[in-house]
Amino acid sequence: MGDPNDATHRGFPRRQWRELVRLLLESVAAGMFVSLVLALAVFIASAQAYAAVAGPGSHRQGALMLQDLSGNHEAAPLLFTDVHMSITGMIARVRVQQRFVNPAADWREGVYLYPLPDTAAVDHLRMHIGERVIEGRIAERNDARREYEHAKQEGRKTTLVEQERANLFTTNLANIAPGEEVIVAIEYQQTLTFEAGSFSLRFPLALTPRFVPAARFESMAASLGTKAMAPGQVHDADRITPPYTDSRDGWVNPVAITIELNAGFPLSKLASTYHAVDVDERPGHRYRLKLTDTPIAAVRDFELTWTPDIGSLPAAALFTETRGDKTYALLVALPPATSELADVRTPREVTYIIDTSGSMAGVSIVQAREALLMALERLRPGDRFNIIEFNSTTTPLFAAPVPVDATTLRRARVFVSGLTARGGTEMLPALKAALTDDRKSDSASLLMRQVVFLTDGAVGNEDEILRLIHRRIGDRRLFTIGIGPAPNSFFMSRAAQFGRGTYTFIGDVREVKDKMSALFRKLETPALTDISVAWPGGADVSPGLVPDLYAGEPLVVTASFPTGSGSGNVALSGRRGDATWGTLIPIVVGASEPGVGVLWARAKIESLLDAGRQGAPQEEIRAAVLDVALVHHLVSEYTSLVAVDVTVSRSADTAAAKVSLPHNVPEGLTFLGGMPRTATPALLLIVLGFSALLLALAIAALRGTWPRFARACRL
């Protein structure tokens, strides 16, 4: 400001300048004040208009949910889950306590849909009401359902555990009094996964919403048409799609997990993959683990892995359980490692199928892209490949598999980088496209044909897809890669089994590299094929058809035979490349290992159902499954566990509302996310602008009037 030679400055005394600045500030402040007052006036006016329009009219309105599938608008019972696992050898016995608390002032019936591990054999149900414990009993599914409904009508407390899918169960609990707490405890047993020298156990804690194709839905809705729906709501009550909470409102269903691990041999590594755990080591290679931050939010699956010290694991192990006139056996055998022949690389024809449906939105699609780009890296000249993308529609990159070269790879990378997730999950057309037989018989026949399938498996028509894989697989191998925080692992492991490949689960984008490398080792080394298990003395062996084994995988079979008859050796044999492999394992019926019988029964039911998927008549399958499930007290597609209180607690004149318990949205998934604002400020801006202009005009017009008016007032 201060140039001393400035004539203007010198001409202006300091007081004048101060005056001027004050004047400016005053005018700006006055302008702002007027604008604010105006804005306020407009807002008040609009809010009033708004209240007037929002009043009762021709539309239904209010905080009624547009749709959360169950018609939930009553407060759901609160749920606290307590999981206790005890692991011995190859078997895990797990107790899941679901504590239901009714926070409402009226009676409730809670329905909770939850995932369990794929091989879970649920064989126990207890209902704890205060001090009393009521044991559940097994019954045919419809009988159990009738018994439950009847007890519910009478006002007794009752609980029913049903199986919706191999890895998806429902607990129904009727007549929970206001403020009351009821514990439903279920127990199941499962075999552990052993792969590449490590054991692992996965406990699913989240449920990725599944896509149910239209045609399938119709029949399901018809068969399950008992659900009461408020009039006017979308009638899509679907048993395998639970309601979800809005992640912005915090999470529900806290879970605590404790584990007793009796490893039986020294461990070189023990770790939980996605959650922090506290480990307490005890003598005799026993470990006690619990989650560090208890309870946790059920938003992603729990996985525990442990690795025995090298050499401490026997090549084969046999566990038996004798129950009356039947003896059950579990055989675990580790075929020797691949020979040096594995270095010879067979050219491959690989078709990658990638799921870009809406349920993959968020972290899943990022993992999938990452994994696919890695897979492209591993292709070598001489290989052929193709990529098929699918959501509601199927989009192949090339019409047929093409040879690997710089151009095709570049196109593939561009294609993969541009993948985004939206739309439905129409899996069948994509698999059909990948499994069409258009090969030229001569040159291509030397290729090892593989299909690598990346998906979260969020489908409801599993059986239909499995049937297709079974029919069309030919000499191909199908490898499934489960993506995201909570994929449908039952479906994917089963698809891999039908396709004689393997299932890999990638739960975190940081794991992509390790897990994909492990998978590539499998893809590139020959598998042990044509495996046969010869058990002496007419034993019933499950699974009947042993899947191919890849490097580091053990052979796991169960058998049942009349007590005392099974003696001699089990003969195992198979082929790896051109070489044959065989071994004899003596049958020694040792100390009874509890739980082996249940494992056999579960494996038996699964192979019966597989036979059904491959075309055996449903009625026969059903009868056979009922035979096994009822004897072994197992929940299955055709049997449920039900427990009924002897005393009547709810009087007939009060009602109990049926409410589905909500789930958390699996971590990182975005498709259930929020909505944008659906109005622009255009109108507000225009109204404000015109008001300001009008006012400015008024002021300018009345400019001369004011001083005169002020003078007049003073006079």
């Binding site: 005056e19 700006v28 749709q67 839905f217 498709f671 400019r703």
Partner: protein, 249 residues
């Protein structure tokens, strides 16, 4: 600049008013004349006024404040109206560019960007013939895409496919027509492959935003159109949503 300020603070009076327009702004001729500093007649006159014949101070202050106020309001008003008009014009204009991109998409079968720097592309065309509405739906329902057209919520089914397609748009631009639709009205959706699917409105609903949840998989192909409610509210941030559910006919 300083000269102009000095000028404003100085001879505001009967003798100079003729050099100003109605908003108190200098006419161009005066501004040019005020530029040379040394011989500025304004500087001289200012000294003259302040030293010899001080003005009644309160009068100047009032006058100046009133004029500044009017100028400020006028400028803010023009800017505000301009911005509002720009939002509406952009929404209208973008649809023209989108139609061009849509014909490219239909010709090639590949997503086409409507303008080179766009981060979205049209995924479907929504036609409500009764309402004279012909809109191109953009991928993604973010505030950015909604400025140009209705947005398709990622993760919902694609319009016309089985499942529930959720489309949102502003109530005062693209989905303004929704206030006139009634149950039973037809709506058509054109897919990138050119096929049209016809829908009929099954339900109209007003819900609170916090209670808004969508069915992911519906029996029949379904369109769920969401916009703000009420339609003529001035305040853009209201909690209510107007939901139109249409099912494949």
């Amino acid at each position: 600049m300083r000269h102009v300020v000095a000028d404003r603070g100085g001879p505001i009076g009967r003798n100079v008013t003729s050099n100003r327009n109605w908003m108190g702004r200098l006419r161009p001729g005066i501004a040019v004349r005020a530029a040379p500093a040394e011989s500025s007649p304004i500087g001289d006159s200012a000294r003259h006024w302040t030293e010899d014949k001080p003005l009644p101070r309160r009068r100047i202050t009032r006058r100046f404040a009133v004029l500044a106020c009017a100028a400020f309001l006028g400028a803010a008003g023009i800017a505000s109206v301009g911005h509002g008009a720009y939002i509406l014009a952009k929404a209208e204009l973008a649809q023209w560019l989108l139609h061009a991109a849509w014909s490219r998409t239909q010709a090639t079968g590949l997503p086409a960007k409507p303008w080179p720097w766009a981060d979205t592309h049209p995924v479907a065309r929504l036609i409500a013939a009764d309402q004279d509405a012909d809109l191109l739906v953009l991928a993604g329902a973010s505030g950015r895409t909604l400025a140009f057209g209705p947005g398709h919520l990622d993760g919902s089914a694609l319009p016309g496919d089985s499942g529930n397609a959720v489309l949102t748009a502003h109530r005062d631009t693209h989905f303004r027509f929704l206030q006139h639709v009634a149950v039973g009205d037809p709506i058509a959706v054109e897919s990138p492959r050119g096929g049209r699917r016809h829908f009929r409105i099954r339900e109209l609903r007003i819900v609170d935003q916090s209670a808004l949840k969508f069915v992911r998989d519906t029996r029949v192909p379904t369109l769920t159109l969401v916009t703000c409610y009420p339609f003529n509210a001035i305040n853009p941030g209201g909690p209510l949503r107007y939901v139109v559910i249409a099912e494949a006919a």
